[in-house]
């Protein structure tokens, strides 16, 4: 079991060292300790209750993460873009306080419920649905985070929303080893400048983020110290893995499979998409895997307790991930999300499959495929394409259709294709797929 002072010990071990860079602000271990102490004093006597960290700033997330183990206060992380949900969420979890910008506001009357105060509550990233509150034990969340023995300094680029499961994994992994985390900018060119200036060594991001970073000019010479690229949050397809390898030949490239509900499951570092088929039989470490009706099911000791409001019984056994997979020879490949499937006149199609086909066309930087309601066919396929370079989109359009006609079925071929200058990213860094209309 991880020691309860894991994080604050790391802060104490780096009193003068910068652990976090967030835009213009930077924080040493001492700064983070002071911030944590201020919050924990305001929450004196609240042991067993729950606080909401209603901030997307990594300094608030990092210091709030100390609360369960240090003072027995559970914490729910709510990103700023969901601020208006805070009152409702406070009711749901019985919160007694809201933390924002290092300050604590106590909530009257709510917070009667007292529990063990040892939970970290996260919202699902909800690319297509309303977010749900996922309850994790603090100990479980920290179970795989190890204090690094190696002496060499790591500098992490934080590309995920700090309040997300992936963002918290990056913050924790870096902090307990007293490594520096640098937050990426919203603008890729700025992110590259920050990454170059800070000498980042570890990049953890979604495949979409990596593709757009490469489209913005990322390459080895710009980030010469980069030695680890970890892809997660979306399918890491072979093309993106190959692009990562060719742009960053000196970095180790891996992709991780994790979700807010299941926790971190496994990491694949052999440069190939998907994972070895043998894992379906043997499991991988303490995670078990099986395929039911083409959907991957998992069982992990680090899965969530339950969704908030679903009682206190820990979910046991298998979790349906909603990820469609196919076994091809000795590999299990991810095809797409079950809930993104498009129904075109009764024929199902996976937007991920169409996106992969479009991304194979030279000159395409990004593709976003969605289903649009249609009175005649149920849904129709809409594709939005980001060209790698500005130029003749008519010519690119012709090449896209010439290519996809050869590899997709008629019902999978987008009937509306539009060009745009940038891929819409959801706050969690995934492709935003909530396009419900043409406009």
């Amino acid at each position: 079991m991880p020691p309860s002072s894991l994080l604050t010990d790391a802060f104490r071990a780096a009193i003068t060292r910068i652990l976090l860079v967030n835009g213009e602000k930077s924080y040493s271990g001492a700064d983070l300790l002071t911030r944590f102490e201020k919050v924990s004093q305001a929450l004196a006597g609240h042991s067993g209750s729950c606080a909401i960290c209603a901030s997307s700033e990594p300094e608030d997330v990092l210091t709030s993460l100390c609360l369960p183990a240090e003072i027995g206060v559970s914490v729910l992380f709510v990103p700023e873009y969901l601020s208006r949900e805070v009152p409702a969420l406070a009711e749901t979890v019985g919160a007694s306080a809201v933390i924002r910008s290092g300050a604590v506001r106590l909530i009257e009357r709510i917070g009667e419920t007292r529990g063990p105060g040892d939970e970290v509550l996260l919202l699902t990233s909800g690319t297509s649905a309303k977010p749900k509150v996922v309850r994790h034990k603090w100990q479980t969340l920290f179970a795989r985070v190890r204090v690094s023995k190696s002496e060499d300094e790591k500098i992490w680029l934080l590309t995920y929303l700090p309040t997300s499961f992936a963002g918290i994994q990056v913050l924790l992994t870096a902090a307990v080893a007293a490594n520096t985390v640098v937050r990426a900018s919203q603008v890729h060119r700025e992110t590259l400048a920050i990454g170059a200036r800070q000498g980042i060594t570890h990049l953890s991001c979604t495949p979409t983020f990596l593709r757009s970073l490469i489209a913005a000019g990322a390459h080895e010479a710009m980030l010469p110290r980069l030695r680890q690229v970890t892809l997660g949050g979306e399918i890491a397809d072979q093309r993106t893995l190959d692009a990562a390898r060719s742009h960053f030949p000196n970095a180790r490239i891996s992709h991780i499979y994790a979700a807010t509900e299941t926790g971190a499951l496994f990491s694949v570092s052999d440069g190939l998409a998907g994972f070895p088929k043998s894992w379906l039989h043997d499991g991988i470490e303490d995670v078990r895997l099986k395929v039911v009706d083409d959907v991957l099911h998992v069982s992990s000791p680090r899965a969530m307790i339950a969704y908030a409001g679903a009682g206190n019984d820990r979910i046991s056994g298998w979790i349906d991930t909603g990820d469609l997979v196919r076994v091809i020879e000795d590999r299990v490949l991810f095809l797409g999300r079950r809930d993104r499937r498009i129904n075109v006149g009764g024929s199902k199609t996976l937007p991920e499959e169409v996106e992969r086909a479009i991304l194979e066309v030279p000159g395409v930087a990004e593709a976003i495929v969605t289903g649009i309601p249609s009175p005649l066919s149920g849904q129709m396929v809409l594709a939005e394409v980001v060209p790698a370079e500005p130029g003749d989109t008519e010519e690119l359009r012709e090449r896209i259709f010439a290519h996809i006609r050869g590899c997709l079925a008629n019902h999978q071929i987008p009937r509306v294709l539009r060009f745009r200058t940038q891929a819409p990213l959801s706050p969690s860094g995934k492709k935003s797929t909530i396009a419900q209309s043409l406009s």
Partner: protein
């Protein structure tokens, strides 16, 4: 706003685009032309209908399917 001639021109341009996207040989179209012809299929029409709905803010299929065959018949459904 959405006059018949304007809608006819829109439909003709979109059908020709759909044909190009499918790699079909170019075909001249006018308002009397049959839509389901020369490789244009029902999924193409489904897309066209969604675009017309967006353009005109009208949904003639609200209460069920309405038959149409030619460019002008489709334009008529959305004209105002």
């Amino acid at each position: 706003m959405n006059s018949r001639p304007e809608l006819v021109a829109f439909i003709v341009a979109r059908v020709q685009q759909l044909a190009r996207d499918k790699g079909l040989p170019p075909r001249s179209l006018n308002e009397a032309s049959t839509l389901l012809n020369g490789g244009i299929d029902s999924l193409d029409l489904a897309a066209l209908v969604v675009e017309l709905q967006e353009k005109t803010n009208r949904d003639p299929f609200e209460n069920g399917l309405v038959p149409f065959e030619s460019v002008s018949e489709l334009a008529e459904l959305y004209a105002s």
